[in-house]
């Protein structure tokens, strides 16, 4: 199976026109030693075998669609209309909209996306998308350092998703920027000491464990020391929770999966970044702006490109080129499909179910077996369950019982054995019952081989 139009006649004709005798001659510049490498690759397949192979792989995955697994990405309601519209081939197979005249589709949709993200975050300037939440956190930290100039330290709450913190460190370390973590206190971020050399303070709310942070106080602490405040938020939560703009955040970033993309084993999703007006020219990535055309009609273009690598090269604000436009489009279509009320409904029911889950767990008599629900402080749609067995062993035991739940809490949180549980608007009472039943089983004298396998 290949996708080539060339018939033998075509090839012969083309070679004639080019003036060479063979295809190999076209590769004459290539040193002989390099040619025809010995690659261990299978032969091609016809479409039927190919689909069979891929369906076979897909069938080896179990329990997809669960709504009890969170950890930053969750299986939320996406109406059928969303992928139908966002995945039209005109959007899917377009390039970056450099030729604005024939890219008003992507450009306008992106301008609309920017407006929606601005509305959600309460900040005025959104870029067109980033790779994901984690790299957006890293880019936000870089932005803060660029803006602050002299500073070369950032504070990051341990409540920020562990993978985001890791990525931030990967990005910042080689530039000599110190990344200092603020340990959580009772699962939320305490008021930190912010030194003068701190460029930015990064806090996630709801944090990785699910709890809502005192963002206004934390923002004040950052600002008092002349640092930027960077809020990391699940955009779905912003349907009902205070927006970063409300509490004075300078930058809002996060992963956009929850507002319109499938979990898809972790990607592609997209990262968003929205900033205050004065950070506009420090913003990494593409931005779409409104203008008028020769005839005075409204038109949209990529703008402020002087920030970007293809213009500024080594002086660019970031090296980002391709972003995650199609995933951002999925979100824009989805937000339009839901509207403010629909998004609120989704968020509300997700909160409702998560709190109901917490309450039912608390009342399920699991304490004796060593489980404990952490229902305080206020949490959104994820919360911590302390476990008598190691987190991964618990997750495995639940999976063996057909329940996909329990994102392990890293030991650095100092919570001992613990997992994050989550619920969404799609969680059913049957899901909750199954989880409780499975936990009750785990609560029984622990089946040895599970413990052993995962310690």
């Amino acid at each position: 199976m290949n996708y080539l139009p060339h018939t033998p006649d075509d090839i012969a004709m083309a070679l004639r026109v080019i003036g060479v005798d063979s295809v190999d001659e076209l590769f004459a510049d290539m040193p002989k030693a390099l040619r025809k490498p010995d690659m261990d690759l299978p032969s091609g397949m016809d479409e039927t075998s190919l689909l069979e192979h891929l369906r076979g792989l897909a069938a080896k995955n179990k329990g997809g669609g669960s709504s009890l697994l969170g950890g930053g990405v969750r299986n939320h309601f996406i109406p059928s209309v969303t992928p139908h519209l966002a995945l039209q081939s005109e959007f899917v197979t377009a390039y970056t909209p450099y030729q604005a005249e024939v890219a008003q589709g992507i450009l306008q949709a992106t301008f609309e996306y920017q407006t929606m993200m601005s509305e959600l975050t309460g900040l005025p300037v959104s870029n067109a998308s980033m790779y994901d939440g984690a790299s957006s956190v890293a880019e936000a930290a870089l932005l803060a350092v660029r803006q602050a100039k002299k500073h070369n330290k950032v504070l990051i709450s341990s409540g920020v998703h562990p993978e985001s913190r890791e990525v931030a460190k990967t990005y910042l370390k080689p530039l000599g920027i110190e990344v200092v973590e603020i340990a959580l206190d009772n699962m939320i971020t305490p008021q930190p000491e912010v030194d003068d050399d701190v460029a930015g303070v990064i806090v996630q709310s709801p944090n990785f464990l699910g709890y809502i942070e005192p963002m206004a106080d934390l923002a004040n602490a950052a600002h008092d020391a002349g640092a930027l405040f960077i809020a990391v938020c699940d955009p779905l939560s912003l349907a009902v929770l205070k927006a970063p703009g409300d509490y004075g955040a300078d930058i809002a970033v996060g992963d956009g999966q929850t507002i319109g993309n499938p979990v898809a084993f972790g990607g592609p999703h997209f990262g968003y970044m929205v900033v205050s007006d004065d950070l506009l020219r420090q913003l990494p990535g593409r931005i779409v702006g409104e203008t008028t055309d020769e005839e005075g009609k409204r038109a949209f273009v990529l703008t402020l490109q002087a920030r970007e690598q293809h213009i500024r090269r080594s002086k660019a604000k970031s090296n980002i080129c391709s972003n995650h436009q199609l995933a951002a489009l999925m979100a824009a279509v989805n937000l339009s499909a839901l509207g403010p009320q629909g998004l609120r409904d989704v968020a509300t029911q997700s909160v409702h179910n998560a709190h109901s889950l917490a309450k039912q767990l608390a009342g399920a008599g699991l304490e004796d077996a060593g489980f404990k629900v952490e229902a305080e402080p206020n949490f959104f749609n994820e919360f911590v369950l302390r476990s008598p067995v190691p987190a991964k062993a618990l997750r495995r035991a639940l999976a063996d019982a057909g329940v996909q739940a329990g994102v392990p809490v890293p030991s650095a949180y100092g919570l001992g054995n613990a997992v994050v549980l989550s619920a969404t608007e799609l969680t059913t009472q049957a899901d909750i019952d199954a989880l409780i039943a499975a936990l009750q089983n785990v609560g029984q004298p622990a089946p040895k081989q599970v413990e052993v396998a995962y310690d």
């Binding site: 990405v73 992507i106 690598q309």
Partner: protein, 496 residues
């Protein structure tokens, strides 16, 4: 064959109205979907009254049909590979197979935090793809984490930096060499890793000037970043010598895989001496460009760099497949989870569809098409600055007195997309053309004919092209005003 010609100019009934924004279609109270109805919930009690926002976000409120109309009409205001020949140089706008979309969907529900025992199929696919890409690039280990080409570059240069540091040469090596024809992401990446960038000029034959290269080389150099073929579409015939020289001074050789379509299946960066290789799956391996992304930029490395890769990789164990975090020198994570998995499925589908022989044909026909179109454009009157057998793309120029931008804009009326213009920077008024292997010769002929027609029009009336295009939904948007007076979101002009 079908010639393309511009639309007639008489626009009798054109209305001057703007195409509406989704916000302008919004009416309070409309809904386009039915999510599960929420139970009565006292959010203030559950979440804390202080934590609730006062005003809801002003998202669009539209009916489902108005939603559908909006995005269907927007789709019609958009060129795409599926609708239009799209020969953007350096972008490899080849056909994106539909079967890839079918297979990618099969994994939509898999959650990244499921227990590995539950996601054996997904892990097996990643394992297989790590293997396939290592074979294709001639490297020893591959990370699938990077989310784009530039992200792969960052990953690779970070690894090189960590490698030099591990060897105690971190302080000494502070320079990255890139050709003057390099893509902007190369120097931008070097800067992001804290390196200084030194450019090496292009020689008369379109290749890296070897003498100049030797001059800038030294033991202060951390890395040399190259594409091969380079951004002029020319194969660096001295690549083995360049590699020898670079390694001689202890520098690492980085391969920007944007141009892999020229060599896939026929030559491997690893065999050329590259230590780190990224691939753009959205180019050579047919994952869609999506109007800007998501791309995917896996990175392959030689054995000496394996332990520096971002964790996790996927390993095979006695029980099946598992995540492998055991990378003692890892630079750390580059993104969450395991990369752009959906695109990894697409690329894997493509690789397994074609197989070894199929991949080899890809580069053969990509190079054939590009050379054929080069000859046709030359016949049509376009100078070719480096007129030699090229690889998968070539650079042309407009005839003296014309501007690449005007040629590009004129093409839009013919329903074909322009080539990349003004890149690479080393050619004045560069017009960089990459037809890809999935285009038929008839399409290339039609493109050459259209370009000839554009030249004819420029001859007939020099002002004609300056106002092109004439038939597009909008015409030459004012980019200067857009940048001077940025309007970056919608704001209702009157209270709604």
């Amino acid at each position: 064959m079908t010639k393309l010609a511009p639309k007639p100019h008489d626009v009798t009934t054109k209305t001057s109205d703007n195409f509406p924004l989704i916000f302008e279609r919004s009416r309070s109270g409309r809904r386009a979907s039915a999510p599960p109805k929420p139970a009565d919930t006292d959010l203030a009690a559950l979440l804390g009254a202080d934590n609730l926002r006062d005003t809801p976000p002003a998202l669009p409120e539209v009916s489902e049909l108005d939603l559908v109309r909006h995005y269907t009409q927007l789709a019609h205001r958009q060129f795409s590979i599926d609708g239009n020949f799209y020969p953007l140089g350096s972008c490899t706008m080849k056909y994106n197979p539909k079967v890839n979309e079918e297979t990618a969907k099969l994994f939509n529900d898999v959650h990244p935090y499921q227990d590995p025992s539950q996601v054996q199929g997904a892990l097996e696919l990643l394992y297989n793809l790590q293997h396939d890409l290592a074979e294709i690039t001639g490297t020893d280990a591959v990370s699938l984490q990077p989310a784009a080409g530039a992200h792969g570059e960052l990953t690779g240069i970070l690894m090189i930096r960590a490698y030099h540091e591990a060897n105690g040469e971190g302080e000494q090596r502070r320079v990255v060499i890139v050709p003057d024809g390099a893509h902007g992401t190369n120097p931008a990446t070097a800067t992001m890793v804290g390196y200084k960038v030194v450019e090496v000029p292009t020689g008369d034959n379109g290749e890296v000037n070897l003498e100049a290269f030797k001059e800038v080389l030294g033991d202060h150099v951390a890395a040399v970043m190259l594409t091969n073929p380079n951004t002029l579409g020319i194969f660096e015939t001295n690549i083995l010598e360049i590699s020898r020289l670079a390694h001689e001074v202890g520098a690492q050789l980085y391969y920007d895989g944007a141009n892999t379509n020229a060599i896939v299946g026929r030559a491997r960066p690893g065999d050329m001496g590259f230590d780190v290789v990224h691939l753009n799956l959205h180019k050579t391996f047919t994952t869609p460009h999506g109007g800007g992304g998501p791309g995917t930029g896996p990175v392959g490395v030689k054995a000496h760099l394996r332990d520096f890769l971002p964790a996790p990789l996927v390993k095979k164990t006695a029980d099946g497949f598992d995540l492998d975090f055991d990378l003692p020198h890892s630079i750390g994570r580059m993104r969450s989870f395991y990369g752009n998995f959906g695109n990894l499925v697409r690329a894997y589908t493509y690789i397994r569809a074609l197989g070894k022989e199929g991949l080899e044909q890809v580069s053969a026909m990509a190079v054939l098409n590009a050379n054929y179109l080069r000859v046709r454009l030359k016949e049509a009157g376009f100078p070719i600055p480096f007129d030699r057998i090229n690889m998968h793309e070539f650079v042309a120029q407009p005839p003296e007195g014309l501007k690449a931008i005007d040629i590009a804009k004129a093409l839009l009326d013919y329903g074909v997309h322009p080539m990349t213009v003004y890149f690479p920077l080393v050619v004045k008024e560069a017009m960089m053309v990459e037809p890809t292997e999935t285009e038929s010769l008839e399409t290339l002929d039609a493109y050459a004919a259209v370009l000839a027609d554009v030249l004819r029009r420029a001859n007939d009336d020099p002002a004609d092209l300056l106002h092109a295009p004439y038939q597009t939904p909008v015409r030459r948007p004012d980019e200067v005003t857009a940048a001077r007076n940025p309007v970056l979101r919608y704001r209702p002009s009157e209270p709604v």
